[in-house]
Symmetry: C2
Subunit: 623 residues, 2 copies
């Protein structure tokens, strides 16, 4: 990796920062955050402005350019990568280290008195704006919204914003029609006494209208906003996608409908002016509901007294609880995914000893097997295919420079998943194709114990996911081991592989309580720098649990694994398992045999079936 | 209980609310919070203004009186009590119920346009002021500080503010001199670049100067503030307490000292004007450190740009980590406390079958035995002595109307503790003096498993206490049981029995990570309404743990029980314990035998010693 030369680009940007064509008044600093106008986790190439100006293309980072300086804030995952990708024009600000200044403190320390700091109001979330604006103001500076993004005029070969065809999902996939979703949303709006709801997150727009797209890699979403009133529906979307007869019929654009279900289609770019018109037309006591993560630009369109901001929108919460059709779809998707992985692991077992399989080849092979399955759309994230020391890099993605050959002497970690039309998968298995050491087995078994502790946990209705995180760590902690990531995230249903509002993490964020029908991952791990990485991940469904005393009818919950891929028994030190844990493994493998075995049989994949049967032999408990 | 008749009082208060002698402009509503000017949990009688005006004397509640209405907000613990204690002038606002308005929303709904809402700026914490002021302003009203408390002019028989003699603690108790504490505090101030630190919490003043008092029942504190500069120390305290030669010598008031250690003693009531003078004299970039829970009045004395507010002060954090002298003192206090409880339980075992022991008698007897121990000062909280159904009332305190006789047919729960000059105790034991039912034993055993799970937990340095809370619940959850309170709180060293900044709770508050030397309680429970209550509480010390792999030198922690009182084995269903849990109980009892046994022997308490030996027989594990 050689760094991107940015001297010329920075010069141009600094000119633009003073050019009255773009700014009302010159700005002495310009902030280039990651992210798009929808606060997406994954973004389209046209939104990778921070990567363009700096060369650093990690998933998290904020660039700030002043007349004299250029600085990049990023976290521990990316210190090395950022240092490699950026030239000497840039100062790397290592977040989380004690001596690293915050962006605000740094700005205050370098700016001349009374400076203006510019930022694209569409990219910065309202809550971040508020914090930064306050800090700058108290030091005598001003944060100012710069309407035209200042990277765009110098990004001459900027790719077009994607505008790919849409997929319509019928009731057999979604369980609920978009009309019924609108009705439910309006009833939540009435409860909170709001008259408008603004949908800004891409997966929320997709979910609400039972549509999918492919504007952002791995995420079946499309660029759009929606504004829902008690009697109106406005969808802001570009391109000729609305010309597609299937879409027109799905949205009933040409039917005679009750006016409250008539969708007005408007240009994507008109959201701000339309929202301003909404804001201007409000009567006293009328309120508009937005996510508190919505962009500053859209939030400001509604006068402050009329705003109703919440961390999670009613769509986010409704989307998280999967209905029967979605749950069944997720089950089907996970069975197909398991078929593909049985094929892959059977193939790896034969090929690895030959010394010809690299991390990239293995990842490609995984995609190949998945793509053979019905309703496969694309991967759900970049495959983490890592062997030996690469396994210890938690967010590793093999590239030619790092690509390592799998061998019978190293642990192999595969974290991968796909989008099927009926569901989204995300599974990690850690395998050894030779003979694991006692230490490797010991670590693997602690991780497995943590995985089981979460998966088999019984907890009362109303429990938040973060209260389960320590269960995943207890066995590791007892021996003085740990892992530095959360234990689980919400998973969408043919939607984003990471979604809120629930999760399982030691970080106490405002997660919503777990409910039956929610789907999360369960993925403890252990990483030995320079040696190996271990992670065992299933996607699990929250289900009601039967208990002896049932919490005075408060009810209990537990998890059902949707992922049905064998956990390599060769890696388990059976002596470290309790009887209960041993039974859990055997019952899990029995279910893999029955459910995935039947599908392998049906698909005539006999060799993979034999592999599955061998890998799911019950553990013989020593003792 | 008959309600307090408040008609006349409310009439008087409403007159005062319009009387220019007390208010610059009439206020249309007046807020009477619980609490004193130091945001204490326990308050002196002269500060019980909310109880005076309403009759409701629970520990939590806020009264608001308007020209037409009088309303009281309190939580589920007190719905019944408040309803009994208040007359029909009052509306009870049941917090936590869906339809209960917030104070702000209620005010907005009842007030005429452009109203003024008054509150004593010394009683309301700055963070609460901010929230309420914002909500009222956005509805067109004003929150105004009313300097003189409006209850005081109508409270003609208000008790005097206590002003009791002080106790000086020498190095053998505190381990660190007040001078060294000032030096350490100033170094923290220098780190954060602040030039003044304002001590507002009573236990922080007491800790800093190695002084104790008895102005508030159960809490060995005294009314005072302190303001620490880099070269000055100001102590705001009333009465002739500073005439006491022991105190003068302790504080070196009459010695020739370096000026930076010279304590200026000032009247308690002059804090505001002195702080305003400090605020007025600040140079640019000089900052003043306050707790964000400090009163609005004191916070406002410092201009906004100069304030540095944190949720936990450096004193709060330093105080939580006990040094060797404090730890040894806590150990001694807990041994003495165990001696008293062995005496008590031995006595109860003989007396209960006679049917003559009531909850109040048992509580008094516990105090009597404690008071026989060296350096006993007072109880550390009101004893919870509860039998049968009373045990299910978590904050129960026996009074003549509820006083129940202990019997061989009911579970008895005793949650009690004391202040000794060398430490503070807090212990709960649940006993049966007859034959417990299988169900009672089952529930007790789950609670015990939870207690052990926390006490024996090993976790990495830097772990916050709330991450351990679920360990205490897991065994209960498995059977569909739970308890609706946190698992543990910080404990002071001859100071408040509840102290921050650490704890073990499912409520995610901003607790500080646990550190070796911190002391918390471990007290899971189970409560069956109308039948019984079970709780097992030890005070435990955070200590370094030895682990196999030691977190790559990050280090591990675990707990050492300081409380050494037998856990009734009769209540344990041994079949529900794992081998590890069984061993924990046996080792714990072995330690009780050795340590407390030796002290009982030394004190010549032979009958209690025999009781201890019998109660600490090892569990025979069936299986």
């Amino acid at each position: 990796m050689s760094p991107k030369i940015t001297t010329e680009l920075l010069k141009q940007l600094r000119q633009v920062m003073k050019n009255p064509k773009y700014v009302q008044e010159p700005v002495q600093a310009y902030i280039v955050p990651s992210g798009d106008a929808h606060q997406s986790e994954y973004i389209a190439p046209c939104d990778c402005r921070r990567a363009f100006i700096s060369g650093f293309d990690g998933s998290a980072g904020t660039a700030i350019v002043t007349e004299q300086h250029a600085a990049m804030w990023t976290d521990g995952r990316y210190f090395l990568q950022a240092a490699h990708q950026m030239d000497s024009n840039w100062t790397l600000m290592k977040m989380g280290l004690k001596d690293t200044p915050t962006q605000e403190d740094w700005l205050v320390s370098v700016l001349p008195e009374g400076s203006k700091v510019g930022v694209d109001p569409f990219i910065i979330p309202a809550d971040q704006w508020k914090r930064m604006s306050k800090a700058l103001r108290s030091a005598g500076h001003d944060l100012v919204p710069v309407k035209e993004n200042l990277i765009d005029p110098i990004w001459t070969d900027c790719p077009q914003r994607p505008c790919k065809p849409l997929i319509t999902l019928d009731l057999s996939y979604t369980g609920v029609s978009w009309r019924d979703k609108i009705v439910a949303l309006r009833s939540k709006m009435a409860e909170r006494k709001v008259v408008w709801f603004v949908v800004t997150a891409l997966d929320e727009v997709a979910w609400l209208f039972n549509l999918r797209g492919s504007d952002v890699e791995y995420n079946p979403v499309f660029f759009a906003y929606a504004v829902i009133g008690m009697n109106t529906i406005r969808l802001f979307i570009d391109g000729d996608r609305m010309m597609d007869p299937a879409v027109r019929e799905h949205l009933q654009l040409d039917s005679t409908l009750e006016p409250e279900f008539k969708i007005q289609v408007m240009p994507y770019g008109s959201i701000l002016s339309e929202l301003q018109a909404v804001g201007a037309g409000l009567s006293p006591k009328e309120r508009v509901w937005l996510s508190d993560k919505a962009s500053y630009a859209l939030t400001e369109a509604i006068p402050k007294a009329y705003r109703y901001l919440t961390p999670y929108t009613p769509i986010c919460i409704a989307k998280a609880v999967k209905n029967a059709a979605e749950t069944e779809g997720m089950r089907r998707a996970h069975i197909k995914d398991a078929v593909a992985l049985c094929e892959l692991f059977n193939w790896l077992e034969k090929e690895v000893p030959k010394g010809t399989v690299t991390e990239i080849i293995a990842a490609d092979k995984a995609e190949e097997f998945r793509s053979q399955q019905k309703d496969f759309v694309e991967l759900s994230f970049a495959t983490i295919s890592s062997t030996g020391p690469n396994g210890a890099i938690i967010h590793y993605k093999p590239v030619p420079e790092t690509n390592r050959t799998l061998s019978v002497n190293e642990i192999y970690l595969l974290d991968s998943g796909a989008q099927y039309k009926d569901g989204t998968t995300d599974v990690t298995r850690t395998m050894h194709f030779g003979t694991p050491s006692a230490y490797e087995k010991e670590c693997f078994t602690y991780v497995l114990k943590g995985h089981i502790a979460v998966s088999a946990a019984v907890f009362p209705n109303g429990t938040k996911g973060h209260l389960l995180d320590s269960f995943a760590r207890s066995a590791l902690w007892d021996c003085g081991l740990d892992y530095l990531h959360g234990t689980g995230h919400g998973v969408g249903s043919f939607l984003n592989v990471h979604e809120g509002p629930c999760g399982i993490s030691y970080k106490t964020f405002a997660d919503e309580p777990l409910e039956a029908g929610m789907i999360v991952s369960d993925e403890p791990g252990y990483y030995e720098d320079g040696s190996f990485g271990i992670r065992i991940e299933n996607v699990v469904l929250v289900i009601p649990a039967e208990t002896k005393y049932n919490f005075k009818n408060r009810g209990s919950l537990t998890f059902e694994p949707l992922t049905l891929v064998p956990i390599q028994t060769k890696m388990i030190d059976v002596n470290l398992l309790t009887e209960k844990e041993c039974n859990w493994v055997n019952e899990y493998h029995q279910k893999c045999r029955e459910v995935v075995g039947a599908e392998l049989e049906r698909q005539g994949r006999h060799e993979a079936l034999r592999w599955l049967l061998r890998e799911t032999e019950p553990l013989g408990r020593v003792q």
